[in-house]
Amino acid sequence: MGWNVACYSAAMLCALFSTAALLHLSGGDVAKAFSSLVIGAFGSQKALLGSLAKATPLLLVGLGTVIAFRAKIWNIGQEGQVLAGAMCAYWASLWIGPLPYWMAFAVLVLAGLAGGGALGLLAGILKTRFGTSEIISTVMLNYIVIFLLAYLLDGGPWMESGVTVAYHQSPPVNTMLEWPTLFGQGSAKLHVGFLLALGATALSAVLLERTPLGYEIRAFGSNPTALRFRGTDISRLLLVVMLVSGALAGLAGAGELFGTSHRLRAETLLGIGSSGIVVAMVGGLRPSGAMLAALFFGALKSGAIYMRLQSGTPAGLVSAMEGLVLLFFLCAAVATRIQVTVRSEVHA
């Protein structure tokens, strides 16, 4: 336990130092950049809410990734699944009639889940039917979805009309359909999606550790052959995992659209998927770990905005830092395993 903490603390420090080195090399003021980063992330109630809001979609995508990766099913199509969830929810919002608010809200949540889930399921079907590697198919589906959205927003039916300049975005969603705000207002508010993400964390943890389905997911990751020999339909299991994994990413997209941006726009959604994968990996493929990692990266993303304003640090630095943290955490994960091996030799 102590060793694990030491490894991950060291990883964190290494990531900080290398970011500082990068900053310094690019001629920035390291102290000012870091202090503005921290203030931007935690400095005020507004900053805190911003961090939590940024963490929300990362956590949902991270959980979907955890579920897939625990089965060693390499769904890396989260980018597309986030977009698909947002698109599906947006589409549903256009058709929604006069429903009581909670029903309309439920429809949007379900539509988000369905959009991401369907895209995940499609990759799953390609795998079970034709043996296509899910790594390839999910990435390729990303492109298809991104270009579909580009078409829809740029000259397609969802383009904001009546303006002379094209913004590549949809008109604002019906204000009646915006997701309820928990705290805050204006640009710094936390929408109800945060609670959904916390609920999803608890559900994922219970699913993986306590239910027969979670048992099968973990077993699939360790040894699918034995699972097949022991009466589990592994094709069906793979489809279920892809569906659930995609659905969680889709919910993240719907939440961003109806809780935060209120317009369908590629820029606000791109990057959530890949950061979500990082969250899952840094979180050690555990729902609780993903939650901590999501909070960390949410704070990083939120603080970065303030850091840019205050110290003029390039935005790319945050992506670089994200990558460095992932890299060092993966190293730390290897280091913890080395310790395990050494010990097992000692006590074997």
Binding site: P212, S222, N223, L227, R230, D233, A348
Partner: protein, 516 residues
């Protein structure tokens, strides 16, 4: 006789475990010296130290009277210690000769094959190995490939050859040929260390060193002792060999397989018109050289491989499209031959593995959740009942020894199976005591009324346990015999699929039947 190799007080520890504890070993020039012991007794560690793969923590290894510094297998090879592993390291599309000389220091930029050929031919003649040096490896039988490995070691100048369980992959006839070759080498003054846990082979060696829990129990001249005495030394007490209780008569047919055919990965025939039946209270043995369709037959019966034609009946019902789920639900238990790949989830502990396949059974659930408390209680019970050595019920089974992992599978199958038990090589890699434990449990199930299909490479065991033995060769059942009317030699001939011998064998059988 002078000692070629002399080991004194060799100790090798892995952390807190002492794998070799003050081991003394002398190997004379020109002898076959057997290392005999249960799994985990330290045989492999000792040989790895001698081959330079491990470095001993303390102790002295003398080779030809001089202290040997063995830091790597290359050192050992240079001194003249060669090793033949269980898994061959050969280039399959090179010829025999090329495989033998590749990597030898005498080969410079250009291969001087003619000189090498003369040297290898000479080696073959002296050891009595008959092999065509220009055939490619893939054309050879497993037994012949093993000869190539031996020749390779000799070509490199080995005077001491270590063979790690060399007969695990051979038919009885191939084993006999191997021992004839080893005998030839012995007469040439070469020394052989043979690692084995088969008594039949131990008895063919000159001396045997028996290891138990890392210590040398005794080194005895084989001619002056008996197989029983050696076994007793190995396990530290007398082992009861279980035999089938012939007073229990087989009852109704539980499994009837009718002209089952199946195709392999490349569309080749792996099962051809396999027909047999197993009754309740009956053990049907399945004998055959590995790779003749045994695995595929078990897969078909477990519902994980589809039949191309034919079918089978379970308890009188035709099983149309079997799935593993259906077979489990119908009370079929499977002990697969590759236990970690097909029978266990390596990262799961004993508790979770005990319900693998039954994780959705209401009995193990509380509402929608797995009932952890129940699983743990079950694991505690089974760990005790099957004497599984596991630090805890949560310890990943990948950390268990082969014997203990097998007990986890047995515990699970015996708990859930209802009428038919399929056991493929259930004692593979297990030592005598662990094997007898498995057999004891299988015989208990027979007495309870199970129909049991038991495939094993241990023909002696099949002969004493089975009611009937089916022999499989190239996917075909070439005969079903009764143990009391069959000898080891006859079984071996059928396994080798020699049609002429087979006919003669069957004639023998029928004439024997006529005489009776």
């Amino acid at each position: 006789m002078e000692n070629l190799l002399s080991v004194q007080n060799l100790t090798k520890r892995f952390g807190a475990v002492t794998a070799n504890d003050n081991v003394d070993l002398d190997v004379r020039k020109g002898e076959i010296h057997c290392l005999f012991g249960e799994n985990g007794a330290g045989k492999s560690t000792l040989s790895a130290c001698l081959y330079g793969y491990y470095r001993a923590d303390s102790g002295v290894i003398r080779f030809k009277g001089e202290i040997a510094e063995l830091n790597s297998p290359a050192d050992a090879l240079r001194l003249g210690i060669g090793m033949v592993h269980q898994h061959f390291v050969l280039v399959t599309n090179f010829t025999v000769l090329e495989n033998i000389i590749v990597g030898s220091p005498e080969v410079g930029m250009f291969l001087s094959k003619s000189a090498a050929r003369r040297k290898v031919e000479d080696l073959c003649r002296r050891c009595g190995i008959q092999i065509d040096l220009d055939r490619e490896i893939w054309e050879l039988s497993v037994g012949e490939q093993q000869w190539v490995e031996i020749l390779k070691a000799l070509y490199f100048g080995a005077e001491l050859l270590i063979l790690d369980e060399p007969t695990a992959v051979l038919t009885p006839q191939q084993s006999d040929q191997l021992f004839a070759i080893l005998d030839g080498m012995r007469r040439q003054g070469l020394s052989i260390i043979l690692i084995s846990h088969k008594l039949r082979e131990v008895m063919q060696s000159d001396r045997v060193t028996i290891l138990r829990k890392g210590r040398v129990v005794a080194t005895v001249e084989t001619s002056g002792t008996t197989a029983e005495a050696i076994t007793a030394l190995m396990v530290g007490h007398k082992v009861t060999k279980h035999v089938s209780d012939r007073s229990i008569e087989p009852g109704r047919d539980v499994l009837v397989v009718d002209r089952a055919c199946a195709l392999g990965e490349w569309g080749e025939d792996v099962l051809r018109d396999v027909t047999f039946s197993i009754a309740s209270n009956e053990i049907l043995g399945l004998a055959g050289v590995a790779g003749n369709g045994q695995k595929e037959l078990f897969e078909v019966l477990m519902g994980v491989r589809t039949l191309s034609s034919g079918g089978f009946l379970l308890d009188g019902d035709a099983v149309a499209v079997p799935t593993s789920r259906e077979m489990l639900d119908r009370g079929v238990g499977l002990v697969p031959d590759d236990r970690f790949r097909e029978g266990l989830i390596p990262e799961f502990g004993t508790a979770e593995n005990l319900v693998l396949g039954w994780q959705r059974k209401p009995e193990y659930r509380r509402g929608p959740f797995l009932d952890r408390r129940k699983l743990n209680a079950l694991a505690e019970r089974k760990i005790e009942e099957f004497r599984i050595v596991a630090a805890s019920a949560d310890l990943p089974v990948e950390r268990l020894s082969g014997g203990n992992a097998q007990r986890v599978i047995l515990a699970r199958e015996f708990l859930h199976a209802g009428s038919l038990l399929l056991a493929n090589q259930p004692t593979r890699g297990l030592d005598v005591a662990a094997s007898e434990f498995v057999y004891e449990k299988i015989l208990e199930k027979r007495a309870e009324g199970f129909a049991i299909l038991l495939a094993s490479e241990e023909l002696d065991d099949l002969l004493r346990l089975c009611d009937r033995i089916a022999v499989i060769f190239k996917g075909r059942i070439v005969g079903i015999v009764r143990p009391e009317e069959t000898t080891l030699l006859e079984l071996g001939m059928m396994m080798a699929g020699d049609a002429s011998n087979l006919d003669g064998h069957l004639n023998d059988l029928s004439s024997k039947a006529l005489r009776q």
